[in-house]
Symmetry: C3
Subunit: 340 residues, 3 copies
């Protein structure tokens, strides 16, 4: 079994599911825990099913019998829930066909069970409905006008935080050992490793994140993963598109620094720096300088993608984009041209 | 009649109006609907008046009689409202003299009844009070200390989302067919056309917006309108001031792309690109290159304002700001100098 | 006595303090007010103590007796509070050893009693716990999973706005005469002088701020203070680190303009401009031009730190970073080299 979880869902008035909250998703469950699921209707086969309070009672006992105390507690806590309670079982990491599967995979990412780019997320956009995330919980956007008017008539405010396919992570998962200045900028499905601080200007998309520890004040686009001890300066940008001809994802290595208001369209290895305010796109021509400041040649930035120990800056005297390295010119030249 | 609407207002404790929520604003009503208004006190003359429950009852019937079912429903739903219920009638698009008029025009924009820059908004700043937008609804800032203390004593939090003249659009209007990552960054009065996605880093001021469809991850300043199929990259900037000597508003045409962390102080025609990280101000000297890369001359960016099919970038080899076109040098030169 | 205040605190379930809200902090109290404190247990000695309702009653009378009506009102209002009520007294501006002291100093800054960089904040990071700021008030992050699940079972949303050591200022202090587009981007401890507008893209850290009036659409980092009539353009950046060899804090003088997406790693004097999109770091080489456009030499930006009447831009023709002044080349050269 790939993963399973008990979840509390919200339904629109037309019956459509809007979201699923999984208090304790289980990744690659041990055999006896997976077996305990057989007590539920539908057994432990793949799929999504709605559970009755009696089912939850049965599952709580089954989990308890195999020593899965936390799971048992969650099952028991869900008894009598206001909305539908679901059991979602993924046999394998297949394409997503049901909203409950999409939410389970997003939870697996934010729970740090799976790294960004390690899950099959095909179909996620088609499956996720657009939802109004309000102070009264998730709602179908079409229901809002009536609900907002009713709240106003009662002298209350129906606050609409967002209208989006993805909710804020913090309303579903709170990873241990992180600080997040503004929760509205972290989508569910973000991966924030221990020791990650995302300041107010930071943003992390789903299927993206930081190994941690690190200080994130810039934007981590979908598919981008930032290595340990790397900092993203205020409003710095990582391109979410594929670089280098579409075969390479952008990633940032360890001990990197992307300066404030800077950005990158190429992957960075370890110990790289992009100076504040400089944006490197895949096609930026870069003058590569060796350890003595000698120019080894000019390259498209994409040719430098993924390399370590590079310092990128724009020369203030002549506007040239330069990359300084800690290698000698001759070696460097040979090495760089070997990839052409 | 230019427009009218029934609204629910909030009053400060000193009686001053703080906001008006119009569930269903009507732009250029049909004759019989305008006539039905005559049933209300003050008839269908221009102005703002407070309605009693009996007035609402009467109006609901009058709307129903002319087949305006939705309006009738709104009038009926407002009966017994917690705060004052207003009828606001605009005879023409005159300067704004009353907060209820200001809110009606902001609603007309966000309801897509009127495009940015098409309404007379003179006086709006003077008329709109500064309001604390809290989890308990709008409040006068001067009342906050006492209310916050009382909430705390009860063990509750009075969350203050903003202190501003403009509230978040999503608490008043939810346009169809949009996605909005962070509702706190869209002011009431924003115009978001169908198919517009505003990501978390996007911002849209009042009297500004996007025709849609489009992906907005940058800032649309007051007065700026973005054409269909144009994307604003993360944290890209559009200047809200007037360009080209103060006679021309900044606008972005169709199928444009402003890269991440880029910006523009000039208007763009259709199919223009500004590369990531490059900021074009009105006075930036730009080397214009033709379809063979030949330089046709250097121009102030404002001379290129509003033209189509331009690609702006900063040359990584020499720091020069370049504009590539799909024209020949000779024609291009003549054409550009014709405007000098 | 340096400062004192009555505060309402929140405790985690394990008894640890999470925050303290001081409705009316008193900076350098007058002698008779300080004396009135003697009526409380522990008298007016330095420290933090919890007050009973009877203590509050006594204090309310003592304040009233010396004519401190507002303070008396606050004491009375706190009677019967849901959480613990604290009296915090600071004898001097010593290093911070208690969360209640940290919160008192953050309040003093946001109440404009003390300017940024004028208070001893040593120890503040160690003393402040990481807190989940939720729609139900402050919570220990470890308690969230259970609380979130319970809320969901009831059909409610426990909204988690942030997980951070610092809460949003607006939930604690509302300075007079300010506008704030997005309260989630101003930390408690920010100093916002009268007439400051912080737009949605603006950010102000604790121990940082603006004298006001001014328009802040960029980020004011910790320790940075912006002078009167200075504007920070959208997403502009001020470096929170020390510039010029670590001895000088970054500050922005009066009547300055940092353009949109621009940034500075040096201090600016008065009437300085950095053009939109240009980032000046301390080590950027800058060509200094005199009032006739003659080059007086090239300097590291840090050598220009704190000077007035400078205009920084990047030449669009050759990518050179230039600084224009209103002085003659000869004088300018001598003056600048005098500091080398």
């Amino acid at each position: 079994m790939f993963a399973f979880a008990l979840g509390l869902a919200t339904r629109a008035r037309n019956g459509a599911l809007l979201d699923v909250y999984y208090p304790l998703p289980v990744f690659k469950p041990e055999a006896d825990v997976a077996k305990a699921l057989a007590a539920a209707p539908g057994g432990n086969a793949a799929g999504v099913r709605e559970l009755t309070d009696r089912d939850l009672e049965t599952l709580a006992r089954a989990f308890s019998d195999v020593g899965a105390t936390e799971l048992s507690g969650v099952a028991r806590a869900c008894i009598g829930a206001h909305g539908p309670c679901l059991l979602t079982v993924l046999e394998a990491d297949a394409a997503i066909e049901h909203i409950a599967e999409a939410y389970l995979k997003l939870h697996l990412l934010s729970w740090r069970h799976c790294l960004p780019n390690s899950l099959n997320l095909d179909g996620i956009f088609a499956v996720l409905p657009n939802v109004a995330w309000t102070s009264s919980g998730p709602m179908a956007p079409a229901e809002l006008p009536e609900q907002a008017l009713r709240a106003r008539v009662r002298g209350e405010l129906l606050k609409v935080h967002a209208v989006d396919k993805f909710p804020p992570m913090l309303d579903y998962v709170i990873p241990r050992g992180v600080r997040i200045g503004d929760g509205s900028r972290i989508r569910l499905g973000a991966y924030l490793g221990e020791g990650t601080t995302v300041m107010h200007e930071g943003f992390v998309n789903f299927n993206a994140g930081s190994h941690g520890p690190g200080m994130i004040e810039g934007r981590i686009s979908q598919g981008v993963l930032v290595g340990a001890h790397s900092d993203l300066g205020g409003s710095s940008s990582t391109q979410g598109t594929l670089s280098g001809g579409g075969t390479e994802r952008i990633s940032i290595g360890e001990n990197c620094l992307i300066g404030a208001n800077a950005g990158t369209g190429i992957a960075l290895g370890d110990r790289c720096i992009i100076e504040a305010g400089l944006y490197i796109t895949a096609s930026t021509p870069v003058s590569v300088l060796d350890d003595r400041g000698q120019e080894a040649g000019t390259f498209k930035a994409r040719e430098l993608s993924g390399r370590s120990d590079l310092l990128f800056l724009r020369n203030g005297r002549n506007g040239r984009v330069e990359c300084r390295t800690n290698r000698k010119a001759v070696e460097l030249n040979e090495e760089l041209h070997a990839h052409n």
